[in-house]
Symmetry: C2
Subunit: 134 residues, 2 copies
């Protein structure tokens, strides 16, 4: 059970954007340099972030990205759902029909509860909270 690079890098990138966004949009080139993440990889992440409504692009010279809302309104839960994209810890939680045993499976309940714990925790942490800690 590991977090994906997508989610980890994405979180750092959004945090970086939140910290550096003043009057100008922030380019991926700058984020890439500061965070040590390849610009090309960030492109794929920000494509997802934009279509999820978390950031908005400004194209052309001096362009880049802006957050669409305040850092306190962006939870890690949202970033997890958008970037990690894998859903619950086990597939049978989301779709019980994939396993004949779902109805009577006590382990499924446990994995679901564990997932709820994780999601609840991520929901309690916002990008603003990360800014405060840094």
């Amino acid at each position: 059970m590991k977090l994906t690079t997508r989610f980890r890098y994405g979180t750092r990138a959004v945090l970086d954007l939140a910290i550096h966004a003043a009057e100008r949009p922030v380019s991926l080139k700058d984020i890439a340099q500061r965070q040590g993440i390849s610009r090309k990889y960030l492109e794929t992440l920000f494509s997802t972030l934009q279509s999820s409504g978390i950031v908005r692009a400004v194209r052309g010279p001096r362009g880049g990205y802006r957050l669409t809302r305040k850092p306190e309104d962006i939870s890690l839960r949202r970033l997890y759902e958008v970037l990690e994209g894998s859903g619950p810890l086990v597939d049978c939680t989301a779709d019980p029909d994939i396993c004949l045993r779902s109805a009577s499976c006590v382990t499924q309940q446990v994995w679901e509860e564990m997932y709820n714990l994780c999601i609840g925790y991520l929901d309690s942490i916002s990008i603003q909270e990360l800014i405060n800690r840094s």
Copy 2:
């Protein structure tokens, strides 16, 4: 972030063993049939479980496996550590040197806390607890 098949199947197999272990050891053939898991796959899991001291094999006809301790003394945390084997949610938690940013990384703290939540939860659930629920 998904749980591995190793851990999920392993947990179900140990639970099955705990439920069916009476005077005789339980063979992998029986567990495989009841749980719908290939015997060959169970062999690899039980090899790990035995070397971790959770089960003990009895070879030969009428052989199989027994638990080495009571179901209430086997936590899912232990099974996770033995079967999942992947450690923390991110590698930098275990070994900060793999990332230059570790010292000042606020996300690392968050991933670590999230991991602690998961492990704490798994620690609170024993095989006996699963038996009670089933």
